[in-house]
Subunit: 384 residues, 2 copies
Amino acid sequence: MKIALLGIGTVGGGVRQIIDQALGMTGRLQISHILIRPEHDKTDPRMTDDYADILGDPEVEVVVEAIGGLEPAHTYVRQALESGRHVVSSNKKMLAAYYPELLAIARQKNVRLLYEGSCGGGIPWLAALARLKRIDHIQSFQGILNGTTNYILSNMTEKGRDFAEMLSQAQELGYAEADPTDDIDGLDVRSKVCLSAVQAFDAYLKPESIPAYGIRHVTAQDIAWAGAHGYTIKLVGSGYRTEQGICAQVMPMLVSDRNLLAHVGANLNAVSASSDTLGVSTYIGQGAGRNPTAHAVVQDILEIAEQPQLPMNEVQTAENDLSGVQGVYYLSGRPAETLRDLQNPDIPDALVTRKMPLAELLERLSKLDSQLPFVAQLEETDKG
Amino acid sequence: MKIALLGIGTVGGGVRQIIDQALGMTGRLQISHILIRPEHDKTDPRMTDDYADILGDPEVEVVVEAIGGLEPAHTYVRQALESGRHVVSSNKKMLAAYYPELLAIARQKNVRLLYEGSCGGGIPWLAALARLKRIDHIQSFQGILNGTTNYILSNMTEKGRDFAEMLSQAQELGYAEADPTDDIDGLDVRSKVCLSAVQAFDAYLKPESIPAYGIRHVTAQDIAWAGAHGYTIKLVGSGYRTEQGICAQVMPMLVSDRNLLAHVGANLNAVSASSDTLGVSTYIGQGAGRNPTAHAVVQDILEIAEQPQLPMNEVQTAENDLSGVQGVYYLSGRPAETLRDLQNPDIPDALVTRKMPLAELLERLSKLDSQLPFVAQLEETDKG
């Protein structure tokens, strides 16, 4: 099966290496084209800087998008689907933004659009959800879907250091980008939650409708308070079926030490699904990086090689049912002071709210005229 | 697709319920026969006590063995394969004992023999290994594959109680059988390690060749020593590629608190694989029970429905390369006293051995003329 690879950066390079040094079933795959930018040297005879070369070759069956960013990745993927090619991408931001448009084309052309590498890197998370769904209704999912922030939080927890210092260290080690906004403000996880909800619930929530709180304002004092009360702070993305529909959110969580997620350290990812007959199943591994993400991309290509005719599920666009879930929330930092009326009387030594609908908390936060406080959900352990 | 169900106990009953109350893709499955014992009432019109009814119906494509035990399960499965039917079973003891014979028939008849429910219950563990193997060499696996012993050890750890008391409690709650030998002596895990090695390495090690040490002799003092040194005791089954071949073992392990396995409590199962491009990936969930095991059985049936022609891998029978791995071992109890010459000078406050080949330890243990001591491997954390 002939494959065109768009981009030969970290992930694209890994995909080329795995397929070229073919093991086992990958032996039937062949990269025939590699799209590069005009200004780059053609160091591989398969390289071209003209996308028309790829779209014009009728033998190319799969286009692997490994460019990143919104454009031209989005246009290239759309054109590939329109031309009747299967597409594999791990570009979570682009996929979350344009999913309904791209899915409609894939369904019309009867081709597959797969993106295992977009959520949880090498962890077979979307594959696990697809498998569960063959039998079960999925009730909810939640997990750690960003390695950069998990690395920062794990180090703050172990070493008692400040956020800024641990962010710098993550940047020096290459675990965080020069502009870390998408990671530390929860926007990267938001895209992954959007795509996980598509897979789990056949429902598309616009990324902008998913509230995203990150870890920019977390302090060593917050970590210490959590530790003293049997919690570890993790950045958690989640999705739930509610009575009315689907709710999804991204928010730091004070995770009980009895919850496995509390013990997922370093830059690992970990995600759990809860479903009818299987109960809770959890999947843990390298959430990013060259080899794990390339592995996931090649798994998608093999999936297409095995079952090219499998139709893409229909997906309904839905509102985010933010009034359908309740929580207890931990708030800290100066701006939180104006929210003292929400105080939970059972936990007097910090600003922890009474149990309240997420929608109500978000409304109160939206009215703050200053910088946001650090906001986190407190895991309620009496419910198991 | 018509399915014959052999046995309607816990797992068989769960399979009938999932398929009869068909959701999604299971809608194309139909149970046409249910084999029961002659002395049982025929409470379902599909019930028969004559296996010839099933073998004689050419429309039956899949036989699900849910009888348990070695016979007649083994004979029924062999006959089903010989008659050209696909077989699904979660009977780990029977499958581990007869795997080469059954595989040879399945390969000759070009049918599939699947057994996801045999290892890790509902956790898609064997499916994860099969998926990994499409791209990677699997280097090793290790995990908690028995819920009964994990329940006992977790409770001993949390409550500081004795083994005998926690075993009784597990029996009262239905987590342990009246005769708990297979669970607590590691024989159940041995069958699962055998079948996991088949899947991971395409190598069959006879179950009798896999050393199995259980938790029968563990004491509250052992748990306390482990806790004081940053370890949690878990019963771990594992398999490794060695320089010369494959090594597999079942042994309690003093797992570092930095290892996720240490935090897998209650009756959960958790297994990790280490492979070339993905690194370590971990799968956690309900390792047994009606619904999770039935879920795994139905997943296997769906797998057959989707890809009935997929050939079974060739598997080589191999010796267990017990001299290919080394470890540091914790020993306790009176019989351990005669092994004092193995003492690790770095850990003087317990009988912990120097680093030594597993084969050498086993030879020394085989020469003890009294009851075996409690034997556990100490996780070496300096290697990560």
